[in-house]
Every structure is written in structure tokens, then in C-alpha cells.
């Protein structure tokens, strides 16, 4: 390991040190949640600064297994902001339930380093380890509320299915390694390009390896029909953690998809395109249809997050199906990931804020009369839900519009997919707006006084709101960054 290598991975090291620092601070000042949060935010700030500085000079370290390019920087900054917001939203929910904030923050930061590792890795083995580092803390967080049976049940389901899918992914990876002789992403792409060109045969073992890897990844993003773990894990987890689970592991898994399917398996895109089209169509349609029937807001948002996975897969399919090789699909996917992260975290933060008083459920009835009881939270929730629906001028509108435009540009079967996206967005409006109707047009059955929320929660909500609105009015800045990231992934 040379000094240059160390500089290149310094954001990752800073992330790991942040996690360690929170633990040490908690050891010195036990159970002081404000100090733990402050340590975490300072550490994340340093990590973000290092990411931006290192990102100025695209570089490759560790013999080509770790790469810093525009995509790495884009995703790293996104991951850091997701984790910072989750940590800010946490204490309002955790402290009344006597759950420790320091451990929460530490485990989250570990998960972030895993996601950052995925974004930077150009080696299949490092990719797998990054995936493990990202999802392992997720299992722990899902079971964070130890005395709650639902939390434990969701965690066990998530853990078992998550470990199986990791094992399936690793099994496929072993076959790909055995038959291409390399784990480097660019060398795998070269070997597969030779297969596509007809210079080498596609052996059944290699095809099986690729199929297993696809299955493993589909589990991680919770694409239909690999989504069964999602609703239970999401509903059982403490609400701020549900928000986190629906965002970071999902965007992180899409980072894996970009590195794996676009960079390593890019030469085979004609072959995996049909699979992606079917996955995308099934995922968004089933996610939305089941979300329609839910009367628990957390469970509804869990199914809607499945639907959003489908929209993002459309972006991937639009890139693979574009005959002229335009990168608009990947650009749209990256933009969607960022917009989705902020609006979804915001929506979950409002649900968590309502549950500040212990014993309050996340059923739809909790939201009745919220607009009158706590007008500010009601208005913010409405904004996030409108953005999730995709109504202008919010971030969600441009995110969906970009996906649809990319799919229409690609033409062919992608046009049908674009139509399915539009139909799904219309169906989704029903269940998102139903919450708004409950908040402003129904009266609460029991009179509950308004809660007081901490400054941390309000500042986090302000950040989510600002990003949701700003990305709606001025999407071009983020679009340009996403474009540069897509360019780094697919040169030419």
C-alpha cells in the first residue's frame, strides 16, 4: 500500500474513524445523545470534505480495485447526506424509547462506509465486501428495538433472506471468477466482450454465474419477485431506521448495479435487457398495487419504495436499450436516486416525529386531523407525498420526467415501459393523496395535544424540504453532476 493509495481511500478511512470516534466519545460521556450526534456530524463533514478534495483528481488505487471518479464522488456525497439526515432524525424517536443514539449513529456510519466502498470499487470481490459492510449494519438496525417483537421478527426475516441473497451473489461471483480468471471489473468486461464478439463461447457455467449474481442483486434492491422480506423488515423497524433502510441500502445496491451491470456486464447488455424490462415492469406495478391496499403508512411507504425501485430500473433499461448508446438513462437513474432519497427520508421523518410519543402506531388514523393539530408537519408531509407522486414543481416530478424521457428516447420496447411508468405514477397518486386527505379533511377520533419536537428534527426536515423544492425548481445543477458521473461510468 503506497501513500498514493492511502490518499485515494482517505474518505473511506475518515468514515471508519468517525464510527470509531462516536464509540469512544460514548465511552467517555455515556448516554449523552447530543454529543454523539455532534461527533457524528463533524466526522461526516470531514468525510464529505475529503471526498470532494480527493474527487478533484480521478485516481485508481490498489492495483485497479478501487477507483475514484465522478460517479464515486456523486454517490459518496449522496450517501453522506443520507446518513447525516438519518442521524439527525433519530434522537426524536429513539430517546423517548430509551434506545441508545450513539450505537445507532455508529452502526449507520459503518453502513455508509460500505456504500462508499461499493461506489468506488472496480473489483468484484471488493464490491461484494462493500455490499456486506452496507447490509450487515442494516440487519442490526432492523432489530434495534430489542424489546419489540415486531422489530425482532423483521430483523430475523431480513437477516435470513439477506444472508441467502449474499450467498447466492457470492456463488455466482465464484463462477464468474473461475471462468474469466479475474475479479477486476474492466477485465471481466473485456472477457465478456470477447464472448459477445464470438471469440469465445459463453459457457453454461458463466451464464449460471451471471444469473446468480443478478438474482442476488435483485434481492438487495427488493425487485419483484424478490421483495418478500421488505414489508416486514420495514414495518417492524423503528421508524427512522425504516426511512434509512428504504433509502441507503437501496441507492447503494443501485451503485452496485451500475458498477456491475453497466461497467462489468455492459458488453452483455443486449442479453440482460429483457430481464431488466420484466423486473422493472413487475416491480413498479406490483409495488403500487399492493401499496393501494395498505392502511398502515409505514407499510404503504415500504411497498411504494418497491415501486420506486422499479422506476429506477427503467432508467437502467433505458440505457441498455438505447440503440445509439446515450447515457440519459443512467443520468436519470442517478438523479432519481438523489431525489428519492431526500423526499422519502423526509416523509419517514414526519412519521417518526408523530411517533415521538411511545405507543403511537403508524396507521392511517394517526394522520387524521394532523393538518389542524400540527400544521407545519402536515404541510411538510404533503410536500414530500406530492414529490413522491411526481407533481411539479418538486424534485420527484423531474426525477420521473427524466426517466420517462430517457425511456421514450430509447424507443422500441422501452416506449411500452414508459407508458407503464406513467400509468403507475397515476395509480400511486391515489394512495399518496389519501394520506393528505386524512391529514386535512378528517377529524381525529381522539383529541391529542400537539407534540414538541427538537431543533435537530426541524433542521433535518428543513434540509429535506429545501432539497426537495430546490431540485424541483433548479434540477439542472444536480443533472449536470449526474451527467458527469454517468460519463465517468460509460466513457464515449
Amino acid at each position: 500500500m503506497s501513500w498514493q493509495d492511502f490518499v485515494t481511500i482517505s474518505p473511506l478511512v475518515a468514515g471508519i474513524l468517525t464510527a470509531a470516534a462516536i464509540l469512544v466519545v460514548d465511552l467517555i460521556q455515556p448516554a449523552r445523545s447530543a454529543i454523539a450526534v455532534a461527533t457524528a456530524l463533524i466526522g461526516l463533514g470531514i468525510t464529505a470534505a475529503l471526498t470532494l478534495i480527493v474527487g478533484l483528481n480521478p485516481a485508481s488505487a490498489f492495483d485497479g480495485s478501487y477507483t475514484v471518479d465522478a460517479l464515486t464522488t456523486f454517490l459518496d456525497i449522496l450517501f453522506i447526506s443520507i446518513i447525516a439526515m438519518t442521524i439527525v432524525f433519530g434522537p426524536d424517536y429513539l430517546v423517548p424509547r430509551n434506545l441508545p443514539v450513539a450505537e445507532f449513529a455508529t452502526i449507520l456510519v459503518f453502513a455508509m462506509t460500505g456504500a462508499m466502498l461499493i461506489a468506488a470499487s472496480t473489483d468484484l470481490l471488493v464490491l461484494f465486501l462493500g455490499l456486506e459492510l452496507m447490509v450487515l449494519p442494516g440487519y442490526l438496525l432492523a432489530g434495534f428495538h430489542k424489546t419489540d417483537g415486531n422489530s425482532t421478527e423483521g430483523a430475523i426475516k431480513y437477516f435470513l433472506l439477506g444472508s441467502f441473497s449474499s450467498a447466492i451473489f457470492l456463488f455466482g461471483l465464484a463462477f464468474v471468477w473461475g471462468l474469466t480468471g479475474t475479479t477486476r471489473v474492466d477485465e471481466v468486461a473485456g472477457a465478456l466482450a470477447a464472448v459477445v464478439a464470438g471469440a469465445a463461447p459463453l459457457s453454461p457455467g458463466l451464464a449460471m454465474g451471471l444469473a446468480f449474481m443478478t438474482t442476488g442483486v435483485a434481492f438487495k434492491v427488493a425487485a419483484v419477485p424478490f421483495h418478500y422480506w421488505t414489508p416486514d423488515a420495514y414495518q417492524g423497524s423503528p421508524t427512522p431506521i425504516t426511512g434509512y433502510l428504504s433509502v441507503l441500502p437501496k441507492v447503494g445496491a443501485f451503485a452496485l448495479i451500475l458498477r456491475l451491470f453497466v461497467e462489468a456486464l455492459g458488453p452483455l447488455s443486449d442479453w440482460w435487457l429483457p430481464v431488466m424490462i420484466v423486473l422493472a415492469a413487475a416491480t413498479m406495478t406490483l409495488g403500487n398495487l399492493v401499496a393501494l391496499t395498505q392502511d398502515n403508512v409505514k407499510r404503504m411507504l415500504a411497498y411504494s419504495s418497491i415501486a420506486h425501485t422499479g422506476y429506477m430500473l427503467v432508467g437502467l433499461a433505458a440505457w441498455a436499450g438505447d440503440p445509439s448508446g446515450r447515457i440519459d438513462g443512467i443520468e436519470a437513474l442517478l438523479f432519481y436516486g438523489a431525489a428519492y432519497a431526500f423526499m422519502n427520508l423526509g416523509a419517514f421523518a414526519v412519521v417518526a416525529a408523530l411517533q415521538k410519543r411511545t405507543g403511537v402506531t403508524s396507521s392511517l388514523a394517526t394522520f387524521a386531523g394532523l393538518g389542524r393539530r400540527e400544521p407545519m408537519l402536515g404541510i411538510l408531509m404533503t410536500l414530500f407525498l406530492l414529490s413522491l407522486t411526481g407533481i411539479p414543481p418538486t424534485a420527484g416530478f423531474f426525477a420521473k420526467a427524466n426517466i420517462i424521457i430517457a425511456a421514450v428516447q430509447a424507443g422500441g420496447p422501452l416506449t411500452i415501459l414508459a407508458v407503464i411508468v406513467v400509468l403507475n405514477a397515476a395509480a400511486a397518486a391515489f394512495y399518496y393523496l389519501r394520506v393528505v386527505v386524512y391529514m386535512f379533511m378528517r377529524e381525529s377520533a381522539t383529541e391529542t395535544p400537539a407534540l414538541r419536537h427538537g431543533a435537530l428534527l426541524w433542521s433535518g426536515l428543513a434540509a429535506a424540504t429545501a432539497l426537495t423544492i430546490l431540485l424541483g425548481f433548479f434540477p439542472s445543477a444536480l443533472l449536470e453532476a449526474a451527467g458527469r458521473a454517468a460519463q465517468a461510468l460509460v466513457p464515449g
Binding site: S65, F110, L117, L129, L179, S203, G205
Partner: protein, 197 residues
């Protein structure tokens, strides 16, 4: 009593079938004794694995799993990877199996049954497992493995060279994963003040 014998008969049948295939392979196709050893170990591993999932007493399942791990270590030796075989014996048979038996011993109470409670979808699971196994076997059989040259010699010195040069980044990341797992594991296992003891 007859119900108890079903898994054992099933396992013996699998072992017999695999050894039968091995015998045919040896006699008809003229394979050498190294292959015979592989087939015997594979038969033991499959039979033990079957016992792990079909037997009803969890302690016997744990013991069958140790046999399964041991047979796998033997297969590593046959494949020429003594270091991995040693690690398999030390880590899996030595540490993990004992941990599992300890966990069973410490968590069992008199009123909780040691019967397995998760076997509600055994038949569909068995069918899909067999289908997937057949698909994997067919595609492995159809793959031209001769085209793959021998890449890494798994001797200890070569392995350490690879581990600490080419794969130093993954090696270090594994330690971070373990740290995260330890932090979370301690949190989950820690007894809450006032919680259930």
C-alpha cells in the same frame, strides 16, 4: 420410533446412491482412487447435510453438521488445499460447532421444545432445492472446464503472497466488517437494565 428412523434411512439411501455412482464411475470409466475418495467424502457430506435438515432433535442436527464440516475439510485436502482444510477444521469444527452446541445448551429451557418450528414449507423447499441442484449440476457438466488453466497454487506461501499483496484491500475491509458486526452484536446481546433476564 419409525418416524425417527426416516431421516436416517433417507441419509443412508443418499450415501448409498452416491457411492453406487462412484463405484460405477470407478469400474466402468476407470477413474483413479483420488476420485473415489472424493466421491466417498461427497457422499458423507450430502448424507450428513440431509440429516441436519431432516432430523428433529436440534442437538443431533448440530452433531451431524460437524460431520458435514469434517467431510468438507476432507474434500479440500483432496483438492490440494491443505491450508483451507486446516482452517475448516479449526474454525468450523473446532470453534463454530462448539459455539452452536453451547448456544443450544444455554438457550434451552425445560418448557421450550427443542423441536424445529420452521419446517412448514419442507416439501416445496425440497422440490426447488432438487431442481436448482439439477440445473447447477447440468450447467457445471456442460461447461468446458479444461479451458481454465491452473491459476493459483494454494500453497501457504503463495496464498500469503496473494492475500497481502493483490488482495490487501479486501483483507482489511473484512476486519472493518467484523468490527461493525462486533459492535452490533454486543449491542443486541447486551442485557437492558430492567429488561428480560
Amino acid at each position: 420410533m419409525a418416524r425417527r428412523l426416516v431421516p436416517i434411512i433417507l441419509a443412508l439411501a443418499v450415501i448409498g446412491a452416491v457411492i453406487g455412482i462412484a463405484a460405477i464411475m470407478l469400474v466402468v470409466l476407470g477413474q483413479d482412487w483420488e476420485d473415489a475418495l472424493f466421491w466417498i467424502l461427497a457422499a458423507v457430506m450430502l448424507g450428513a447435510g440431509l440429516l441436519v435438515v431432516t432430523m428433529r432433535d436440534i442437538i443431533r442436527c448440530g452433531l451431524a453438521m460437524m460431520v458435514c464440516f469434517g467431510a468438507l475439510a476432507g474434500i479440500y485436502v483432496v483438492l490440494g488445499a491443505p491450508l483451507i482444510a486446516a482452517a475448516q477444521v479449526i474454525v468450523y469444527i473446532g470453534a463454530i460447532s462448539v459455539l452452536i452446541l453451547f448456544a443450544i445448551m444455554l438457550t434451552q429451557t425445560k418448557d421450550a421444545p427443542s423441536r424445529l418450528v420452521f419446517q412448514t414449507q419442507a416439501v416445496p423447499a425440497a422440490i426447488s432445492a432438487v431442481v436448482i441442484a439439477v440445473v447447477i449440476a447440468l450447467s457445471i457438466g456442460a461447461t468446458d472446464w479444461a479451458e481454465v488453466p491452473e491459476r493459483i497454487r494454494l500453497a501457504t506461501d503463495a496464498l500469503s503472497q496473494v492475500l497481502f499483496n493483490d488482495f490487501v484491500l479486501p483483507f482489511e475491509i473484512v476486519s472493518v466488517i467484523l468490527l461493525a458486526a462486533v459492535v452490533g452484536g454486543v449491542f443486541l446481546a447486551k442485557r437492558e437494565p430492567g429488561g428480560p433476564s
